[in-house]
Every structure is written in structure tokens, then in C-alpha cells.
């Protein structure tokens, strides 16, 4: 189905790096280069490894090379009336699937239809020894061997170069509508939490600028019925709103300063932390611009069972991702060594020493 397979060249580059102990920096389009710790090492460019390998809409499964752009993938899916259920943020025209999966980022639909990781069915990768390995597959259910494919999601390229990914895809909902109303942050949190207990086709819930936004998607009937049960007016041009939220293009995201991604249990009441907040994922993912000391911020959020990523605009020297407890970090290091014994891939991108 077109595209280009450069796996042999990529494998050779990894083999050379393995023999010489050269650190490699895996590069997609670089749209998320800001994300994670500063990258060092020789560039290994996967953007040339592209194209849809297999897509049969009636299987709900798509297999693509990792350098394929989200743009191309989404266009092919749209043609068949389907979509990536996790509504990935692109953060750039040329964002690749490999980079998206490596970062493990998902969009507004995530709490209701699953994450990037939930969509992954199989993965072909090059490990740090230069071996090409395949895990999972192109079927919905597969418990043969450990779930290495999903382990790649959010590993920020520290475990291997992903070559090919098989993803579960879903039909696009026939209809969608967004209901919005003015409310307080506390009111929004309790409304969004209450929706979790109701059998309504919600697939997006956000609180931003004193407004609560609820997206309903499904069959035309279902959406009409559900709309009548939720107070508020219908938002015109809702697609633009959710797109701008997903891509961080709302005015909220145009601020300077440190942007934090705060993960908490969705019903956690608004936190009394100095800064400006936007609540997505029904309250489970909260964006915060704050000048508070990052260490004390982490501490405050950990005390309510949450964790924090310094997403953008912070000081490069600070820890980006939430620190791991020592026994878990030790397992991370052993897993890293099991895939990449000479520590050549994306050194320190996720945690120092990984």
C-alpha cells in the first residue's frame, strides 16, 4: 500500500551503535522535541519509514510504519468512516505515529474511549541489540507472551525503535453535539464526576474559563436523547473547540511560563494551588500554569494521589516526569537493560539513568 520500508537501514544504524556504544536519539518529526529531557546522541531518523502496511476497515485494525504521519493515517481512516479512538494530539503538521505512541499522549476522548496504549495491538521494533522483534499482533485478543507492545507506549523511545504498529480503530460516531454552560470549578468537577455514573454517550468533558463543556457522540438518536438530559446551550462549531483544546491552541495555552500536566482522580475538588487551571478528561487531566516551586507542587499533588509532568516552558534542568519510588525505578532500570543493554536509545530522555 505504498510508503517506504527502511527497516534494514535503521537496523544497520542500531547495530553499528550497539557495537560502538554510540548513543542514539530517535527522531520523528521533532514536533514533541520540547517534551522530555534534552536529547543527546546521533540522530536516527524514522520519518522515512512510512506507509500504511495493512488496513481492512471491517477488521477495525490498522497496521502502519512508525514514521507515517498522523495526518495521513487520519485521512485514510476518515475515508472509511473510522478514527483513532484516542484522538491523539498532533502538536505539529508532521507528527508521526511513532512519536505519538512513544509519548503516549491522548486527547479529550481518552477517559471514555481509551488511551493510546489501549489502542495498541501489536508492535514490531528494533531493540538495543539491533534485533527486529514482533510482539502482539493484528488481532483484538492476544495473550501469548508478555504485553511488550503496550510497554512501548509512553516509554519515550528508551526501549527500542518502533518500526510498525497495529492499532485498533473505531467507527466515527454518526453524530456529535457539545453542550455548554457557565459554572464554577467545583460545580464542574461534581457535574463531570456525576456523568461517570450515568449511561450517557459522553466522549469529552472539559472546564475552561468558567464554562463547562460536555461532548456527546453516538447515533443521532442517542445524541438527541442525551442532549435533553444535560442543562446548557449547544456550542456552535464544537469541532473547532475540541481541536483547539487537543492541540493546545486555546488562548489559555498561549501564556508564557511553566505548563504542568496534573493527573488526579477525576472527582478531586479544585486544588488550592496558585495558578491558572484548565480541566480536561472530566477532571482527570488538569493543565496548570503556575509559578510555584516544582518540588512543592509535586508534593502537594502527590498528597491527593496524583502526579505531575512539567510539560512545557519549565527550566530544562528540572525533572520533567514524576519521580518513581526506588523499588520501581530499579525494575525500570532492569527492563531498560533487558531491551537496551548498552543504553544507546534516548539516554536520559525519560529519567536520568534510564
Amino acid at each position: 500500500m505504498g510508503g517506504m520500508d527502511i527497516s534494514t537501514a535503521l537496523q544497520q544504524q542500531v547495530l553499528d551503535a550497539f557495537h560502538n556504544g554510540t548513543p542514539l536519539n530517535i527522531c520523528g518529526s521533532g514536533s514533541k522535541a520540547f517534551l522530555g529531557n534534552a536529547s543527546r546522541g546521533q540522530a536516527i531518523d524514522v520519518t522515512g519509514h512510512r506507509g500504511i502496511v495493512e488496513y481492512d476497515p471491517s477488521e477495525l485494525v490498522l497496521t502502519v510504519r512508525s514514521g507515517t504521519t498522523l495526518h495521513e493515517i487520519e485521512a485514510a481512516l476518515a475515508e472509511a468512516g473510522q478514527m483513532l479512538a484516542f484522538e491523539p494530539p498532533h502538536f505539529g503538521e508532521a507528527a508521526t505515529l511513532g512519536g505519538t505512541i512513544a509519548c503516549g499522549l491522548s486527547g479529550p476522548r481518552r477517559p471514555y474511549c481509551g488511551s493510546a496504549r489501549d489502542s495498541v495491538l501489536g508492535c514490531k521494533l528494533i531493540n538495543g541489540r539491533g534485533e527486529i522483534l514482533r510482539f502482539g499482533g493484528q488481532v483484538m485478543k492476544n495473550v501469548a507472551g508478555y504485553d511488550v507492545s503496550r510497554l512501548m507506549v509512553g516509554a519515550h523511545g528508551t526501549l527500542g525503535v518502533m518500526l510498525e504498529l497495529s492499532l485498533k480503530v473505531l467507527p466515527r460516531p454518526a453524530a456529535s453535539i457539545t453542550v455548554t454552560r457557565v459554572c464554577s470549578a467545583a460545580g464542574a468537577v461534581s457535574s463531570m464526576s456525576a456523568l461517570l455514573g450515568k449511561p450517557l454517550p459522553v466522549d469529552g468533558a472539559c472546564f475552561h474559563g468558567e464554562q463547562l463543556y460536555i461532548r456527546l457522540s453516538g447515533s443521532a438518536q442517542a445524541v438527541r436523547e442525551a442532549r435533553s438530559k444535560i442543562a446548557g446551550g449547544v456550542l456552535p462549531d464544537a469541532d473547532n473547540f475540541w481541536h483547539a483544546l487537543r492541540e493546545h491552541q486555546l488562548p489559555f495555552f498561549k501564556r508564557n511560563g511553566a505548563l504542568y500536566r496534573v493527573m488526579v482522580k477525576p472527582a478531586t475538588p479544585p486544588l488550592n494551588i496558585e495558578g491558572t487551571w484548565l480541566l480536561d478528561w472530566g477532571g482527570a487531566q488538569r493543565w496548570l500554569y503556575s509559578t510555584e516551586d516544582p518540588a512543592s507542587l509535586r508534593h502537594r499533588i502527590a498528597s491527593v494521589g496524583g502526579h505531575v509532568t512539567a510539560f512545557r516552558g519549565g527550566k530544562q534542568a528540572d525533572e520533567i516526569f514524576h519521580p518513581l519510588p526506588a523499588p520501581l525505578l530499579a525494575i525500570h532500570q532492569r527492563i531498560k537493560a533487558s531491551f537496551d543493554p548498552k543504553n544507546i536509545f534516548n539516554r536520559g530522555r525519560l529519567y536520568a539513568g534510564l
Partner: protein, 489 residues
């Protein structure tokens, strides 16, 4: 005390120092109920059975075993179908049966925290008071434990729409072989670091002992309705499955049964299935009232267009339950018509259904063994039940050969040897068909990252390369199997 392994009495008395005496079983008669799981063709008494009831006790037991090099096999309800919980003669069997409490139901955050020995169905029963439920529903749900579900990444009839165990859990507390307590995942939707939650799910008790699980709860749909369609040809039923999905409909469940299974189930629970049909499909739609009505209409039309001889919608909730009861009791129903049956679990791309069903029919004739097919058609997960009589000379052997041929066929058409029952001891040789040596080595390395001593459920799920070489050589000799080193598919 490195020779303690030889000295069972010393280990047993050390265990009695950690647990009340009724929680340590060492007499053959007391240990008999633990000698096998749901795959009863494999049986083995362990050296000792321990039934702890606190996390601290689990930690102490594992530390003791670790110090003395004694292997440990965890066990939930023992309903597993691949011998995953099969004891080791020189090992300790760790039963989690006493961890049977639901610790917390958090309606506002739509989650529940439970102990590993809680039965799958008990979670949904407890959540029902709040209009919620736990989605994955294996047919064994009245008996199997949530700990076993996590260890096997179990599915159920509703996983086409709602996902497998891995999609429905948030956090685990796990004790390592060294006795260290880890928290994996978080109560939040994502958690920092590698996705160890995915790695633990389906790891068949080889990476750690699960002592607490936080699951997601979902709102009970306003309405669920099931359509039963009868076909005079299995192939047509297989094609209808693809047509429903292609129409953009994701049913809550989409199950298929063939004639032998239909008759067995009908005779057993009187579900109202058409006894003369070659195949039936059960298609469940759920959602809001109007949504379900809309989809029922669409599905009925597709089924009729696919050549169904009869399309019936359950008249009421009682009939819906009855339709499902027939499906969920299909395994025991088949157990009534044959002295023994062997349940396979391959998964294939959906479009291969007609081809694979035809091949299984042909092989059934070749091996002279009847097959009842009852399976999760929507996600291509087959459960051919091979009927045999273990008391007849050579029949078990022929059955196992037949089973292997089915699994090889699944791999050949781009599928997998196990969709939800796990590899265990049963399919360990078939792992050599599905994976290359380097992939198997990577699995061993992952195991070593969690369990460097290799004492947790050793010998299950991932074959040694040596075993594959022997297995491969044997079959290449008979010209039946491509060499495992060569390109697959």
C-alpha cells in the same frame, strides 16, 4: 539453610511459624483440591499449600521461599484453562482464596478497590447498588477471581465493546518474589514511567503476586437487547459477523455457536435455541433506549441480508438472560454430551473466520474427533471444543495433536495461539511456533527484571530455547512444522 529445599519438613514448620496452622496444608488429601486447574488433564500435588490472609503474610512467605530457593505458584479459583496454576512437586502453592474482600467502591471516581480472591461477578454485584458494573465478564465469572483475571488478561462476551481486563484496571499492588510490595499504575488514568500495568496483565503469575486491584467501573447501560439469528450454514454466519462490524456497529457482544454446541446448550438449559440450525449468532446491543432500537433495526436487516433463516429479538429481560445463559453454559453443556472435551483458544483476523471454520471441520473428519464451536466471533477469538474420551487408548494424544493443528492454523492466518486463556503449560510448545528465539529471549529478560531468581511460576508461559529446539526438530523431522527460526506466517 540452602538445603531446606530437600528438607520439606523444615520449610513447612517455618511456614507454620508465619501462618495459623489451618492455613498450611501438607497432607496429600488436604492438598488434593489444588492439584489442578480447569485443565484437569494435568495434575500435580505441590510440596505444600499456603493460604495467607494478609499482605504481610504473603511478603513473609515469599521471602522465606526466596531465601530457600523454593518455587511458588499463585492460585485464584483454579478455573484457568491452560494449567497456569498447576502446582510444582517441589514448590509452594500460594492460594489467594482468603483475600476475598471488596475494600472500597468509589462511585465518584468510578472505581473499586478489591482483594485478588474476590470473584469477578461479586464486583458487579456490589457495584449494582450504584447503577454501575465491572465490564469484563468471562463465562466463568461466578467462580473465577479478579486476581486470576488480571494474571490471564481475561475477556468475556462484552470485551468487543468494553475491552479486556487490561483496559479496565487502574492500579495493582504486587508482591515480588523477594517480598517487596510495589504499587503499579495509579488511581489516575495515566501513571508515570513504563506501562508496567500492561506488562503485569496477562503475565500468568510469573512477574509478581497480585494482592490488590483497583478496577474501573462503568455506568450500567440504560438498556441491553439481544438478537438471535439462525443460519443453515456456518460460513454465512461467519460472514454476517464481518458485515455487522463493517456497518459501523460495535455490538456489546457478538457470539457464535455451531450445531453441536447449540444442541448441547439447548438440552442443558432450554434457552430456546433453534435445534435444527447449523449456527446461531447472538448479537447484543446496549446503550440508551433510542440508540438500542436504532441498532436493533439495523442489525436485523444485516442478518436477514446475510441469509439468516430466523432473526429473533428477546421478548423481555428474562428471555435475554436465557439466551445468554445458553451461551455461558456452553462448556459444561458440552461436558454432558462427551466424557471429556478440550477447549482451544486461538484468535484470528475476523475475515479468516469462514476459512478457519471450514478447515477445522475438515480436520475434525481427518482426526475422527467431533468439534463443537462456541466463540467470541466479534473479536475472532475461537473456542473449538474437541470431544474425546480419555479412557479410550490414544484419544487424548490424538486430541492434543488436533489442537496443535488448530493453533498452527491460527498462526498461519495471522492470528495467535491464545486469545484469553493463556499459555500456561498447555501451549508452551506452540509459543515456539509463534515467536522467534530472540523474541522468547526478550520475554525471559523481562521476567528476570521482575524475578531475577526465576522462582515465580517457573516453566510456564515462555519456553526455553532448548525446549523449542527439541520441539522444532521433532516436528521438522515429521515435515509438519516450519523450523521455528524461519520467517513466520
Amino acid at each position: 539453610m540452602p538445603h531446606l529445599r530437600e528438607n520439606n519438613t523444615a520449610l513447612i514448620s517455618a511456614l507454620r511459624g508465619l501462618l495459623p496452622s489451618e492455613s498450611v496444608l501438607a497432607d496429600a488429601e488436604d492438598m488434593r483440591p489444588f492439584e489442578c486447574d480447569g485443565l484437569a488433564v494435568y495434575r500435580q500435588l505441590p510440596m505444600v499449600v499456603a493460604l495467607p490472609e494478609t499482605v504481610a503474610q504473603v511478603q513473609s512467605i515469599l521471602r522465606l521461599c526466596h531465601a530457600h530457593g523454593v518455587p511458588v505458584v499463585a492460585r485464584g479459583a483454579g478455573t484457568g484453562l491452560s494449567g497456569g496454576a498447576l502446582p510444582l512437586a517441589d514448590g509452594l502453592l500460594l492460594s489467594l482464596a482468603k483475600f476475598n474482600r471488596i475494600l472500597n467502591i468509589d462511585v465518584h471516581n468510578a472505581m473499586a478497590t478489591v482483594q485478588p480472591g474476590v470473584r469477578n461477578l461479586a464486583i458487579s454485584e456490589a457495584a449494582a447498588a450504584y447503577g454501575m458494573y465491572y465490564a469484563p465478564d468471562p463465562s466463568s465469572q461466578i467462580a473465577c477471581t479478579i486476581g486470576g483475571n488480571v494474571a490471564e488478561n481475561s475477556g468475556g462476551v462484552h470485551c468487543l465493546k468494553y475491552g479486556l481486563t487490561v483496559h479496565n484496571i487502574l492500579m495493582l499492588k504486587v508482591v515480588t518474589m523477594e517480598g517487596e510490595l510495589l504499587t503499579i499504575g495509579a488511581e489516575t488514568l495515566d501513571s508515570p514511567g513504563y506501562d508496567l500495568l500492561a506488562l503485569m496483565t496477562g503475565s500468568e503469575g510469573m512477574l509478581g503476586v497480585i494482592v490488590e486491584i483497583t478496577v474501573k467501573l462503568l455506568a450500567k447501560p440504560e438498556r441491553a437487547q439481544v438478537v438471535l439469528a439462525a443460519f443453515d450454514d456456518v460460513m454465512k454466519a461467519g460472514e454476517a459477523v464481518g458485515s455487522i462490524i463493517a456497518a459501523g456497529i460495535i455490538p456489546a457482544g457478538l457470539e457464535m455457536m455451531d450445531k453441536l454446541a447449540i444442541r448441547a446448550a439447548e438440552d442443558f438449559v432450554h434457552a430456546g435455541y433453534p435445534r435444527d440450525a447449523e449456527a446461531i449468532l447472538l448479537c447484543e446491543l446496549d446503550g440508551t433506549h433510542a440508540e438500542v432500537s436504532e441498532y436493533i433495526l439495523a442489525v436485523r436487516n444485516i442478518l436477514t441480508a446475510s441469509g439468516a433463516t430466523e432473526v429473533r429479538t428477546a421478548a423481555d429481560e428474562a428471555e435475554r438472560q436465557l439466551f445468554w445463559k445458553g451461551r455461558k453454559s456452553a462448556f459444561p453443556a458440552v461436558g454432558r454430551i462427551s466424557p471429556d472435551y478440550y477447549c482451544m483458544d486461538g484468535t484470528i483476523p475476523r475475515r479468516q473466520l469462514p476459512h478457519v471454520l471450514r478447515r477445522i471441520g475438515e480436520m475434525s473428519a481427518e482426526y475422527g474427533l467431533a468439534v463443537a464451536n462456541v466463540f467470541h466471533a466479534g473479536d475472532g477469538n475461537l473456542h473449538p471444543l474437541i470431544l474425546f474420551d480419555a479412557n479410550k487408548e490414544g484419544e487424548l494424544h490424538r486430541t492434543e495433536e488436533f489442537g496443535r493443528s488448530i493453533l498452527r492454523l491460527c498462526v498461519e492466518v495471522g492470528g495467535t495461539i491464545t486469545g484469553e486463556h493463556g499459555v500456561g503449560v498447555e501451549k508452551i510448545d506452540q509459543m515456539c511456533v509463534q515467536f522467534l528465539s530472540a523474541e522468547l529471549s526478550q520475554f525471559h529478560a523481562v521476567k528476570a527484571a521482575f524475578d531475577p531468581s526465576g522462582l515465580l511460576n517457573p516453566g510456564k508461559a515462555v519456553p526455553t530455547l532448548r525446549r523449542c529446539a527439541e520441539f522444532g526438530a521433532m516436528h521438522v523431522h515429521h515435515g509438519q512444522l516450519p523450523h521455528p527460526e524461519l520467517e513466520r506466517f
